[in-house]
């Protein structure tokens, strides 16, 4: 049974979460967008948990560890690396639907489709340096603790430098989103979010010296290369999740400017039963 495409939708049920989700699955016209948004929210929380708690690969260890220290580092978190990254490998493809949802925000703007397409392809590839290469290196390192320590330290460098040092995808991706937001006339995102993209892009430049320094603020565990980067990234992610949620609430599936959110308590423009009650 499907809901009529215009006019009144059946009343939203109150009560259990399952019934609410089932209602949205059946009747909510924005369910595709909400699937994408909830995937983003769940994934970023899981990502934090897996990287900071389960694998304990973040915050990153020192690049200056000697091979014996690196052997100990792998020993200390053997199970965390193996099982944590196995879960990363299972859910890693979820980034596809997440990036598709973010690309949709650009499609809804008044700018060319080229922005959405460029963003989609860039972030599809970003999954490799963003987590998968590090996971492969850590898994291979952990699976044979008796490997030659010199080779284990090569895997250690591979893990952290692929994660921290290959930021071109995030740099260009953020700039594409920035340009789209600043050019957009459909008011999908506020203009200040365009400049926040620039902040995120700049932190990706700031991590580049991680290829040169083994200690200090610019090393891969440094105050500038890691802490500033992570601080900006977490803020940026929280902001775009909030703005994306507002975009979905405002979405009218038109091509013109997005309408404002209805004020609290005001009747909903989508013609829900509550408005006529």
């Amino acid at each position: 049974m499907s809901a009529p495409s215009t006019g009144a939708m059946p009343e939203r049920p109150s009560g259990s979460l399952v019934r609410k989700v089932a209602w949205h699955w059946r009747h909510d016209e924005k369910r595709e967008l909400w699937i994408g948004w909830w995937t983003l929210v769940v994934f970023y929380n899981l990502y934090g948990l897996l990287f900071f708690v389960v694998t304990r690969t973040q915050p990153p260890p020192q690049p200056s560890l000697d091979p014996a220290g690196i052997v100990r580092w792998f020993d200390d978190r053997h199970h965390g690396l193996i099982y944590g990254y196995a879960i990363v490998f299972i859910v890693g493809g979820a980034t596809a639907i997440m990036n598709a949802t973010l690309a949709y925000s650009m499609r809804r703007m008044s700018v060319s489709r080229a922005f959405a397409y460029a963003y989609l392809v860039i972030y599809a590839l970003a999954t490799l340096p963003g987590m998968l290469l590090m996971g492969i290196a850590c898994t291979v390192g952990a699976m044979r603790p008796d490997r030659d320590p010199e080779l284990l330290s090569w895997l250690y460098d591979f893990a952290f430098l692929s994660f921290e040092g290959t930021m071109g995808v995030f740099l260009v991706g953020s700039l594409v989103w920035m340009a789209a937001v600043l050019l957009d006339r459909n008011r999908v995102f506020p203009k200040w979010f365009g400049y926040l993209n620039l902040c995120n892009a700049l932190t990706e430049v700031v991590v580049a010296p991680a290829w040169i320094f083994k200690s200090g603020a610019f090393a891969w565990d440094g105050t500038i290369a890691w802490w500033t980067n992570m601080g900006v990234f977490v803020t940026y992610t929280a902001v775009f999740l909030t703005l994306l949620r507002r975009m979905i609430l405002r979405e009218d599936f038109g091509t013109g400017p997005l309408p404002d959110l209805p004020r609290e308590g005001a009747p909903q423009a989508s013609g829900s039963m509550e408005a006529t009650r």
Binding site: G36, A86, I90, A124, L155
Partner: protein, 238 residues
């Protein structure tokens, strides 16, 4: 009206791609039976140094490389069928295209590690073991984009609410089953023996079997969908 010229040609590349996959699979002496993760560095080095094996490793992996990329046009056809579904947004077709870009890239990486191990087999056995481990772990554990592809396709089919949906609901159920069958392979690094090891029942046989079955089933239903679409397009044009 959307132009569908050439789609049948792209679809018929699939038997060719499948033949490449089969020949790569049979050529590479490390697949039948799969190499054991318990082999020592010396045994792994001896495997690559064996003059019987070396050309088969190289040729097998060279054609395996073609196979991964060869699947991309077919994924593009699936993305186009998703476009025909009764959705409000292009999110699902975008997501399939993102999987098409990400998945084969990882497969290429595994292929590269195998070929590197075979390029100078006289190298220190510890280095050959490292490349061999990187190849097998990448090949076995990287199921994320394949799982996502199946789940996204299933969601797209379930939400395709029209009188004659593009794919029948069983195609969605089938894709969810495939996604579940692929999951144990992510644990390839957890054990050197048993069903989760890279030569184990779940990680090697079930996973590769699921991928092969997916290709065959999706080829058939995709062919059917394209045929119906062409018939509808001709009826509209007439």
């Amino acid at each position: 009206m959307r132009r569908a010229d050439g789609e049948v040609l792209l679809l018929w590349t699939l038997p060719g791609v499948a033949a490449i996959w089969l020949s790569g699979f049979l050529l590479f002496p490390g697949f039948v039976p799969p190499m054991s993760p318990t082999m020592s560095a010396e045994e792994v080095a001896a495997f690559y140094r064996d003059p019987e094996n070396l050309p088969r490793i190289r040729y097998g992996m060279i054609v395996f490389n073609w196979f991964a990329v060869g699947l991309i046009p077919v994924l593009a056809l699936i993305a186009l069928q998703i476009r025909r579904m009764a959705h409000r947004t292009p999110i699902f077709s975008y997501a399939i295209l993102a999987c098409a870009a990400g998945g084969p890239t990882i497969f290429l990486l595994a292929d590269l590690f195998w070929l590197l191990a075979a390029f100078r087999p006289e190298r220190d056995p510890q280095l050959t073991l490292l490349f061999n481990d990187l190849a097998w772990v990448t090949f076995s554990s990287q199921v994320g984009f394949l799982i996502a592809q199946s789940v996204i396709l299933a969601l797209a089919i379930y939400l395709d609410r029209q009188e004659r949906p593009v794919f029948r609901p069983w195609v969605a159920h089938f894709n969810l089953v495939v996604a579940v069958l692929l999951m144990p392979a992510a644990f390839a690094g957890a054990a050197l023996t048993g069903p989760f090891a890279w030569d184990g029942l779940l990680t090697f046989w079930v996973r590769n079997g699921a991928v092969a079955l997916w290709i065959v089933v999706m080829a058939v239903v995709l062919g059917g969908a394209i045929r119906r679409q062409r018939a509808e397009d001709e009826a509209v044009a007439a």
